[in-house]
């Protein structure tokens, strides 16, 4: 044991916890009564065991294998592969997110540069920021009309605030010494913005972008449950309607995995722009 590194020991412990957790889960699911032991009335009212529908991990793993070996099949509107569903969700998240970044970062830059603008915009940002993004949904549906575009709008509105606030905060907090270096080297405002302020504020901006992508991924599931049609959120709800809890559990796990990957991607980016003083 003494020869294992910290990381190896931690990994070993993680695997152990996973195995124990799965075993407990497997053991906790009571064996399902065979259907023929129930009367027709019992079947109709679902009076079998309360927990009967919750799948054991073995079933989830089989389901996962099944789904992941052919993730992109398309057998009509209610039966698409998990890959297609996640693809739709990522497309919506990225579209809304990029639109938000396109506005939030330049705009945050401007209000970060000017104290007056910072103070003037602050009350609006503070009021708009805590609004649950789904609260915008009815308004979006009414104004935009299209459910697809409304979902993207909801992603847009929820990812804009952390990016806007962090960009403004990062830009406003750039050390005056660095700005003075730019000034004594006669750099123009555009050049100063790109060669000094942007790299100086980049870690803070990236933090905002990372928070935003996390929130966007949280919100897309709920938004797709509302608008329906395609996407991982819709998939979860659809499988619930089908009473296919194995698929529900499987898709929950997939939501977690994709969210983790998105976050890791931004974590990597963040590490690249971070500097030590």
């Amino acid at each position: 044991m003494g020869t294992l590194s910290l990381n190896q020991r931690a990994a070993l412990l993680s695997v152990l916890m996973l195995v124990v957790g799965l075993l407990i889960w497997e053991a906790a699911i009571p064996a399902q009564k065979a259907v023929k032991e129930l009367t027709e009335y019992e079947i109709l009212t679902g009076a079998g065991s309360q927990k009967a529908g919750v799948p054991p991990p073995s079933q989830v793993i089989i389901k996962a294998w099944d789904q992941l070996s052919d993730p992109f099949y398309d057998a009509g509107p209610n039966d698409k592969g998990i890959g297609i569903q996640i693809g739709y969700s990522i497309y919506r998240v990225l579209t809304g997110y990029l639109l938000a970044a396109l506005i939030a970062i330049p705009f945050g830059f401007l209000i970060g540069m000017s104290q007056v603008a910072y103070k003037a915009f602050n009350p609006f940002i503070q009021v708009l920021r805590p609004i649950s993004p789904l609260a915008w949904m009815p308004l979006a549906l009414f104004i935009i009309g299209d459910s697809e575009a409304s979902a993207i709008f909801v992603i847009f509105i929820c990812s804009i605030w952390p990016m806007l606030i962090n960009t403004a905060f990062g830009v406003a907090g750039v050390r005056e010494d660095w700005v003075n270096v730019a000034r004594t080297h006669e750099l123009g405002p555009i050049k100063t913005a790109f060669t000094v302020i942007l790299p100086a504020a980049a870690p803070t901006i990236l933090t905002g972008m990372r928070i935003s992508i996390g929130i966007a991924w949280l919100v897309i599931v709920a938004a797709e449950m509302l608008v329906g049609g395609t996407g991982i959120g819709y998939y979860v709800w659809n499988e619930w309607n089908n009473l296919d809890l194995t698929s529900v559990v499987f898709s929950i796990l997939m939501i977690g995995v994709v969210g983790m990957l998105l976050d890791a991607m931004f974590g990597l980016l963040q590490r690249r722009v971070t500097y030590a003083e």
Partner: protein
């Protein structure tokens, strides 16, 4: 004939917090000749850094003006390079890139290899060579960082180089080595330098002339002391020069006593207020001690 750099009746007032004004310095006037190394000495709060910022163009005086090479100083310029006390290197760039940053701003028409060669030359002049120049500032010691900052400033050949307590944050030993580097590079470049420091020995080692400031508020540049020790100077040898302790004593006396006595006296605007020139040279046979004493007396009165 005006000197190369002429500071004329500079006044700086700041609001004092209860609606009034606080005059940091008043009618500060002095000149710096081309190629001269001038050091300004004074207690904290006398406005040395403010003068520095005005010379750099980073701050505007309440009134008065600075004229360099026949032109009034308005805003920062590549003609006035600055070495800040806290190095002010850009932490996300490597050592080399920090220097090329300055050169690219100065010579946008140069090719990449020209810029890098120039930067490498100046880095090696301050003793930074090889692998070190590809490290980030956070991986360098304080002394090395300040060397980078000095290389960046010299590489741009500014008409005037401003050093704002460049060695203030360094330990005494490192400070000594970098002072030597600075003397060496200055000797090769004939650069006009204006420097702030708190360190009397450092000032004597480096300067052609030391400007002494009285305490604030209403601080002013009271004296201009010539350093009559021939160059090239060396830290271990100058202490043996007969003038060294005479000059040092004069400076200590000023900072310890007279800077206080002369402080806080508003001067009439009509007075030109040029600093009194003090020349202490025990080796000069034409100047008998009797004479010198009278100059000092004149300053004292």
């Amino acid at each position: 004939m005006k000197p190369f750099l002429s500071i004329e009746k500079l006044v700086q007032k700041f609001p004092n917090g209860n609606g009034g004004e606080m005059t940091v310095f008043e009618n500060a006037s002095f000149g710096v000749e081309k190629g001269e190394f001038v050091v300004i000495l004074g207690h904290s709060g006398c406005g040395k850094s403010t003068i520095m910022n005005i010379l750099a163009g980073l701050a505007d005086p309440t009134s008065g003006c600075v004229i360099m090479d026949g032109q009034e100083v308005k805003g920062p310029s590549l003609d006035r390079g600055v070495v800040f006390q806290n190095y002010s290197l850009l932490p996300w760039l490597t050592t080399l890139k920090n220097v090329t940053f300055g050169i690219k701003a100065r010579h946008p028409e140069w090719t990449k290899s020209q810029v890098e060669e120039h930067a490498t030359n100046f880095l090696s002049m301050v003793g930074l060579e090889g692998d070190v120049i590809h490290r980030k500032p956070s991986q360098l010691s304080g002394g090395m960082r300040q060397r980078v900052s000095i290389a960046r400033a010299f590489a741009n050949h500014p008409k005037l180089l401003l050093l704002d307590e460049p060695f203030g944050a360094l330990d005494a030993l490192t400070r000594g080595t970098i002072q030597d580097e600075l003397l060496k590079i200055w000797g090769q470049m004939e650069q006009t330098v204006f420097m702030i420091t708190h360190d009397i020995d450092e000032a004597i080692l480096l300067a052609d002339r030391i400007l002494l400031m009285t305490n604030g508020p209403y601080a002013r540049v009271a004296e201009s002391v010539e350093i009559t020790i021939p160059r090239p100077r060396n830290r271990t040898e100058i202490v043996e020069h007969p003038n060294y302790y005479a000059i040092r004593n004069h400076l200590v006396q000023f900072l310890g006593k007279r800077s206080k006595e002369l402080a806080g006296q508003p001067t009439e605007a009509s007075k030109t207020n040029k600093p009194k020139t003090v020349r202490i040279d025990l080796t000069d046979p034409t100047e008998d001690p009797e004479n010198k004493r009278s100059t000092l007396k004149a300053v004292n009165s």
